[in-house]
């Protein structure tokens, strides 16, 4: 190997290192931590993935904040209760994967607080908080009621499937309504559709 060849090889080494850095950390399938909100997560055709919940919740929150309806409540921040979210998909899912993200985002926006002492069918999300509040009221001889929610969030999850040859397509539909309790009117409604198409699950998107 002559001097010129050596120089050429040495000058190519950094380029190889840079390009290698773009590809991967080794070419294996060893378990590794990935960002739940990043683009390295798995995309499945038979289930709602973690990024689908995040995206649906994010789009719903953006729509809700943009609508301006949260300013209709006389109390600031507005009090919201999470009502029933019906799951009509083929999966067994915990709808908190959607509603909790929405609650957290609305809470952090400073525009909404969620009551945990009221719930569908009279069941409180936090029964201990409710019992303690009632006990305190009784001990103080207080007759005032606890603040009632002004908004109620309800919704439905749906699923639609189609197939052409080996290519499968699944659409998950997230429908939400915000009801203004004093009027009983759905003052905000939105629908988010997430469609995935392919022949098999993939890593990354």
């Amino acid at each position: 190997m002559n001097q010129l060849q050596k120089i050429s090889l040495l000058s190519l080494a950094p380029l190889a290192l840079i390009l290698g850095g773009c590809a991967s950390s080794g070419g294996t399938r060893d378990a590794a931590y990935v960002d739940s909100d990043g683009t390295h997560t798995i995309v499945s055709l038979d289930q709602i993935n973690i990024q689908d919940w995040s995206n649906a919740a994010d789009q719903m929150v953006q729509s809700l904040l943009e609508s301006g309806i949260l300013n209709r409540s006389p109390e600031k921040p507005a009090i919201m209760v999470v009502s029933r979210i019906v799951n009509n998909t083929t999966q067994q899912v915990d709808t908190d994967l959607l509603t909790k993200k929405i609650r957290v985002a609305l809470n952090q926006s400073g525009k909404v607080v969620t009551t945990t002492t009221y719930g569908p069918g009279g069941r409180a999300e936090d029964p201990l908080a409710r019992e303690t509040a009632e006990l305190e009221k009784f001990q103080r001889g207080d007759t005032a009621n606890m603040p009632l929610p002004y908004f109620s969030l309800s919704g439905k999850l749906l699923e639609n499937r189609a197939q052409a040859g080996k290519t499968k397509q699944v659409t998950y539909i997230f429908q939400l309504s915000m009801t203004e309790i004093p009027t009983g009117l759905a003052v905000w409604e939105d629908e988010v559709q997430i469609t995935k198409q392919g022949q098999r699950a993939s890593v990354g998107w």
């Binding site: 590809a23 070419g27 590794a32 683009t39 994010d58 953006q62 300013n71 990354g204 998107w205």
Partner: protein
Amino acid sequence: MKKTLLSLSALSFLLLAACSSVNTVERAEPLATPDPIAIKKVTTDPALADKVSVVNVIQGTVSGDLLKIQVQVENLTYAYQLFNYQVVWIDKNGFHVTSPAPLWRPGQIEGRETQYLTAVAPKPSVVDFQMKLLSRITYDETVGAGRSGPAGKR
């Protein structure tokens, strides 16, 4: 020679078949009066910038005190493009808002189409933003195609 010409014709046909672009119609003199802001672009992936390009950014306020932005992107090619984007929000003290965590969203754009990506700030303290655009092809060609592990760095 004949074979070569036939092959080239077939290839051209395939390439053209893969492309389709969007025709649009709109008011000649728009009534909207947007509030465009000066933007600074940092390009580390020129291949993506040559395909999906940011045209302009406008901003406004919604719900009384929340910053809203709209980023106009244009597909400079005649082919359907896939990309991902993320909006990072920055408060008045310069801190990135990490809760709720900024998330990546998938984007698709048809050939020569113009799209508007909108985002609303998660809290009133937000005054600035940064939008990131990421090519999905680069990812598919590396990690997505299964040639490496999921934690590969781009």
